[in-house]
Symmetry: C2
Subunit: 117 residues, 2 copies
């Protein structure tokens, strides 16, 4: 079996929906739904809510990881999702997760880097 690089999507969103940037709870529910929907394997996670608003989180998967960091005072979110292709080609899942998360934050401006690694 040869190695097939996976897709890593690295995004920065600017949004007016700053309520979604304050607390991690609803975001976590969405992430867990997506992990279940796409039959990924979570091996651990860290969610940290800052006093005064904003959160930082990482979710570790056997397939790789997701991360999010929010700055409600700037209407700014950095989000990334990386799924390797060790057992399956996960490009479509990576893209689907990205699309759903982007829809959640309703950005008016998006910077997206698509890395194959």
């Amino acid at each position: 079996m040869t190695y097939s690089p996976g897709l890593h999507l690295v995004a920065t969103f600017l949004t007016h929906q700053t309520a979604t940037l304050q607390h991690s709870a609803a975001f976590k529910v969405l992430v867990d739904e997506l992990i279940s929907l796409h039959q990924l394997s979570k091996v651990g996670e860290v969610y940290h809510d800052f006093d005064g608003g904003g959160y930082t989180a990482v979710v570790c998967l056997t397939e790789s990881h997701l991360s999010v960091h929010t700055w409600p005072e700037y209407g700014r979110v950095t989000f990334d999702v990386f799924l390797s292709n060790y057992r399956n080609n996960n490009h479509a899942k990576t893209q689907a997760i990205y699309n759903r998360i982007a829809a959640y934050f309703e950005p008016f401006d998006t910077t997206l880097n698509e890395l194959t690694r």
Copy 2:
């Protein structure tokens, strides 16, 4: 205060030093040394060692995150480090951490993406 984007370094290493890719314990010691040295704030971490070798890990910082995923059978490592500049300009720390981790894996081939976000 305006927002100053942080530096996110996203690397793929190929290495012959596959012993460093088998188990996470020594890598974790190094990461914790770097977090202490650079006075960063860890809020949680996940390290997962696979049966048969290789590991996947994420470290959550108030400043953002680090991630690593290894495939010893391919001599392959993906590593990334992202430090935001919320309170301080952390570009030099990001670069220093990257350099030390790269030295640890002794890659003969490196693909590096430098993202400002």
